[in-house]
Symmetry: C2
């Protein structure tokens, strides 16, 4: 029996979330505001219409089967012992700074990288000015939130429809106090992949400002007519869709390494949040094999083997993965860090102490300290130390 009151394990989180308020874009001029994403549910309940940047998509809504109780919300991607309304409660708590800090103290979570939530929708916006102004407003909200505690490390949204806008927002957000910039694992529709020359000035801006790049998994632009994150249906669909989300983070890392961005900027640090961690040594080996065995086709040549950039400059957060600590102590990737994913259902809220004990009891103290505290502190040295366990 674990005694969590007398033996609280503290950890920083490389992956947490906040939900922007519904009236966030009220301050924008009307011509931009009306292009921002919004959903209007048809009175019949059969479909919703989504408006984004002059585009209009009709999306069917799940219909109750005969005999079903009416549902207030329809989040079915949750544990079996969790009610359908739980997520709403979590979001309300998480968006109140005082309540959030109480939750963190209860759970034993200290510092947090906090990602925005509206990011995915904005990837379907096609007008650079709309994305630029929208990102600015999201970042003002995030910065206000960050000011409530030195434990909050909010990630700035970066407008990606124009490289000049992206570079300017990396620099501006660093100037105003951000330490991390959020990037999707795949650029918005119509933009080149992360290995393209187009992005070079943005990598340079991240490197020069010391801003950490935060790739959050599951952020590929998606078809607005489909339900987000649904790649598979039928048997095993829930597990298949969940597993599928991780590959995008691995692709993004392979791209920034293979194109030479991390070679040109050895000070650049990249975090992949919520994608697990044991993939790191695997992708490192795979990149090396491709780099050597297909060497005649490799462009550009790199100063070191691809694996070295991953081991030196790439960090990754996991929640429950029992194999993740061994990626550090047995495979030598010391940039594995833990994450809570608060307040999402994929995370540890409500059972964080149980998870941390299961992961780290019996693990070498130095390894445990590195995964829970040290790797995060290397990325964000301005965050104060957690209490001593």
């Amino acid at each position: 029996m674990i005694n969590i009151t007398t033996n609280k394990v503290w950890a920083n989180s490389g992956d947490s979330h906040i939900m922007e308020p519904l009236d966030l874009f009220q301050s924008l001029p009307e011509d931009i505001r009306e292009l921002m994403p919004r959903s209007v549910k048809d009175p019949s309940g059969a479909f919703e219409t989504i408006y984004i940047d002059g585009q209009e998509f009709r999306r069917e809504l799940p219909q109750p089967k005969p005999g079903d109780e009416p549902k207030k919300v329809t989040i079915n991607a949750r544990p079996v012992d969790s009610g359908e309304d739980d997520f709403i409660h979590r979001v309300i708590s998480g968006n109140d700074p005082a309540h959030r800090l109480k939750d963190l103290d209860d759970e034993g979570v200290w510092g947090e990288v906090i990602y925005p939530s509206l990011g995915i929708w904005t990837f379907n916006i096609r007008t650079p000015r709309v994305v630029k102004e929208g990102s600015r407003v999201m970042n003002e909200f995030a910065l206000d939130f960050q000011k409530h505690s030195p434990r909050f490390v909010c990630a700035a949204s970066i407008p990606l429809l124009g490289i000049d806008d992206a570079v300017a927002e990396v620099r501006r957000s660093s100037d105003v106090g951000f330490h991390c910039g959020f990037l999707p694992t795949k650029p918005p529709v119509g933009r080149p992949e992360w290995n393209d020359e187009e992005w070079d000035p943005m990598w340079a801006a991240f490197a020069e400002t010391g801003m950490v790049i935060g790739f959050h998994i599951g952020t590929e632009p998606h078809d607005p007519t489909a339900r987000t994150g649904v790649y598979y249906r039928g048997r095993g669909g829930a597990v298949l869709n969940y597993v599928e989300t991780t590959y995008g983070g691995q692709r993004a890392i392979t791209q920034v390494i293979a194109c030479g961005a991390l070679d040109r900027h050895p000070e650049l640090k990249v975090l992949v949040s919520e994608g697990g961690a044991t993939w790191g040594p695997f992708i490192a080996d795979r990149m090396d094999e491709g780099y050597r065995q297909h060497g005649a086709a490799v462009r550009p040549n790199l100063s070191k083997l691809p694996s070295q950039y991953l081991y030196d400059q790439v960090y990754a957060s996991f929640q429950h993965d029992s194999s993740a600590p061994a990626a550090n102590w047995a495979m030598g990737w010391t940039n594995v860090l833990w994450g809570s994913d608060y307040p999402h259902f994929e995370g540890t809220f409500g059972h964080t102490q149980k998870t941390l004990h299961e992961l780290f009891d019996g693990v070498d103290a130095e390894v445990s300290q590195r995964i829970r505290i040290g790797a995060f502190q290397e990325l964000f040295p301005h965050v104060p130390d957690p209490p001593v366990s």
Copy 2:
């Protein structure tokens, strides 16, 4: 300095290849033979026309730049120290049983799972009878080759356009002496994914016959108008394309586990060849997180956690991956096995002893034995023991 003559390390290979002869389909009736894949190069050298099952695709061929030497073959996915003609020599050697055994003895490779090569093209055939007759001819060739040595474990091609044909060929190939059936990581165009009910009788046939399922990576059906395996161009393309090939094997395993096939058939054994091995513990953890945290959406429920099926019934081969042995000794996945990928460039031909020493010198003897010999023997107990090192 490694002394490979006095200290030869032997290993079985979970991944090897053979190339079918060009006149393989001569024995088929003309109406079927003319539907088999063939390529006709235009005299201009600018394009080739590919004929498959009544479909006709024109594909541009890479053009020499001004000043380039004329090339006999255009395989650029090779190490920098390897000539462009090397692959041809390797294929000629590999297809001659006596020469192949000499190569294996030189390299220290004992038993081998040997995959067919024509498989990828056949996935674009749309006529069930053509695939059925073509698979039969490929399997006659493979069976003849297998008879040359108990060290050869050839994988039978399974026709996948009709479930009855697939089941019949699993049973027939087991009857005539095959121990492994080759499946692509994704079913042919137009067929449902591996998690679909459609495939249940085939999993049952594999389980009942004791045939091992061999998923070989990089075998997704591809657009015949594009170059095989080219997902990315530009900077880092060679490494990106190589890394991309591994995800299909992970998806196939997630599908057969999440749909309950391995739960219903605990005796079924599945091998993923050439995709690396460290992904196993990672995907196991990720499946468990999805299964628990999205539990309310999970169908079907499984008797055990998804990870358990992977640890118990799934095997995976790697070539050079330095992290792979630790997937066994530190993460507890004892079904990691080595593979040579002979005669392909991604493999270890020409430097097998160097690779085996680098991988296993200093590794616990039991772990080394399991990865080199034991895991393979568990899949194919009929293959005799290798010489003592």
